[in-house]
């Protein structure tokens, strides 16, 4: 079996910048260019530029596209206006999470579902199976290979992008999008991201990704821009309390356990996973995703055991030294009844328990003006 890694259209750029490339979700992706900590700080203080072309894009179009998506996803895309986006999830019949994703309403009867690269096939299969079962007047198409995604993220992203487009960026609010040219290349310009900062995601034809990247990078020199890799993306999203599929989310976890019950719209009519999720909502989730701050000096990592009063009660789903806060932080799944801000836990690091305290999520919230 071939295990050859796929490359994004910006692969040569990353090599030229001296990025450290690692296998990720079947792609060869930049994990860092210079330093994860420097890249992380650049996104918090100025603007970082990410190549996210590995992400999956699926187009759903047709008169009944919206009723199809209402069946296939746990949220209610019926609430979306044209140009609006929505965080959502696809769950299986047991209520387990197949993927978390963002739905963009492009036109009246055309939607984009943007999912994790590692779950692209799973999401496509989930939607195709539903399409075969029901009599939906719509079609789906995996457009991931021909769609690139370049993401300037950080407080300077809007000022930078304004130099490259005629779009009125002030009119594109958070979780909104618009079609327009960036440096002469047609893009879907979306005010979405995964860093906890203001920022944009620019979707374009893969063949023109280089033009967009180069123009943003060049204009970015005046705005303190740095290219940023997946390493910084991970620490940024963790500080912002955002879940990562494979860490916080998987098929054995339901949305209510990870504080995403608000995304699930049980009263919108039938959808895949509704019965199971309705039962969870009724009884309350058994586990809860919490934030931990280490009181003692050790770095919590995914998979480490969490204890309370000497007993093993759960596990760390993600952990790191927070570059912004300087604290050692983690998200962890514990029995719901044990959760409470200020509660004491221990994280077992190399066979020794270290004290930790439950703190509010997110760990970091960006200052708003």
């Amino acid at each position: 079996m071939s295990t050859e890694l796929k490359r994004t259209p910006l692969h040569d750029v990353h090599v030229g910048l001296g990025a450290r490339l690692v296998p990720f979700a079947g792609y060869e992706m930049p994990v860092q260019y210079t330093s994860i900590i420097e890249e992380h700080r650049t996104v918090r203080s100025a603007v970082g530029l990410f190549d996210l072309s590995h992400m999956g894009e699926i187009e759903v179009r047709g008169e009944e596209a919206v009723s199809f998506l209402r069946h296939g996803l746990v949220s209610d895309p019926g609430a979306l206006e044209v140009g609006q986006a929505q965080y959502s999830m696809a769950c299986n019949a047991d209520g387990g999470i197949i993927d978390d994703l963002i739905v963009y309403r492009r036109t009246t009867d055309r939607y984009w579902v943007v999912c994790n690269a590692s779950n692209r096939e799973a999401v496509v299969s989930h939607l195709e199976a539903l399409l075969e079962r029901g009599d939906f007047g719509c079609s789906i198409e995996d457009i991931g290979d021909r769609t690139a995604l370049v993401a300037p993220q950080g407080p300077n992203a809007a000022a930078l992008l304004a130099e490259l487009t005629d779009l009125d960026l002030d009119a594109i609010g958070n979780y909104r999008s618009a079609d327009g040219d960036v440096a002469g290349v047609p893009c879907l310009v979306a005010r979405t991201g995964y860093t906890g900062e203001d920022g944009f995601e620019l979707f374009c034809d893969a063949r023109r990704a280089r033009e967009v990247w180069d123009a943003v990078a060049a204009a970015g020199e005046r705005h303190g821009l740095r290219p940023c890799g997946l390493g910084a993306r991970d620490t940024l999203r963790l500080e912002a309390g955002m879940p990562l599929y494979g860490n916080e989310l998987n098929r054995e976890t339901n949305p209510f356990e990870v504080n995403l019950g608000r995304v699930v719209k049980l009263d919108k009519g039938d959808f895949v996973g509704r019965a199971a999720l309705s039962a969870v909502q009724q009884s309350g989730p058994e586990r809860k995703l919490i934030g931990l701050r280490m009181v003692e000096n050790a770095i919590p990592r995914a998979g480490y055991v969490v204890r309370a009063d000497g007993a093993d009660v759960g596990h760390v789903t993600s952990g790191t030294l927070s570059p912004t806060l300087g604290d050692k932080i983690a998200m962890a799944l514990v029995p719901a009844g044990m959760a409470g801000i200020g509660n004491a836990f221990e994280v077992v690091v190399r066979d020794r328990p270290y004290r930790a305290e439950q703190v509010k999520l997110p760990f970091y919230r960006r200052p708003r003006d």
Partner: protein
């Protein structure tokens, strides 16, 4: 950064600077660069007995946890306390300020199992 000529090197990317019956040990610049930003180190305790090529501590970068393997056997007589609060010294000056421990050597013949700077440079080329 060039590997100093007066040091001996292990395949696990530690260095040794011998001074009489004692030696200072650390990780190489190559190792520090491969690890990325080092944010934590678990040092051995003074008085601990190290065995050549066995683990004696842990370094953590933002993304990864890595074991430290001692290039020599002996008793730890001093550790670099500065690394507890400023582990980034390992990135900034791996062969100098980023030293990890001083060891009373139990068997100087073990040094023959280590590489000189030229051999280590080939190893990491």
């Amino acid at each position: 950064m060039a590997n100093p000529d007066d040091l001996r090197y292990s395949k696990e990317h530690e260095w040794v600077r011998v001074d009489g019956s004692q030696a200072t040990i650390g990780i190489t610049s190559f190792a520090a660069e491969e690890l990325g930003d080092i944010v934590f180190i678990e040092l051995p305790e003074v008085g601990a007995t190290l065995s050549q090529f066995a683990t004696f501590g842990v370094v953590e970068s933002v993304k990864a946890v890595s074991d430290l393997y001692s290039p020599v056997s002996g008793e730890v007589v001093e550790v670099n306390e500065a690394l507890r609060d400023t582990p980034e010294l390992l990135n900034a000056d791996a062969f100098g300020e980023g030293w990890i421990a001083r060891v009373e050597l139990s068997d100087t013949a073990e040094l023959d199992a280590l590489m000189d700077a030229a051999a280590y440079a080939d190893e990491t080329a």
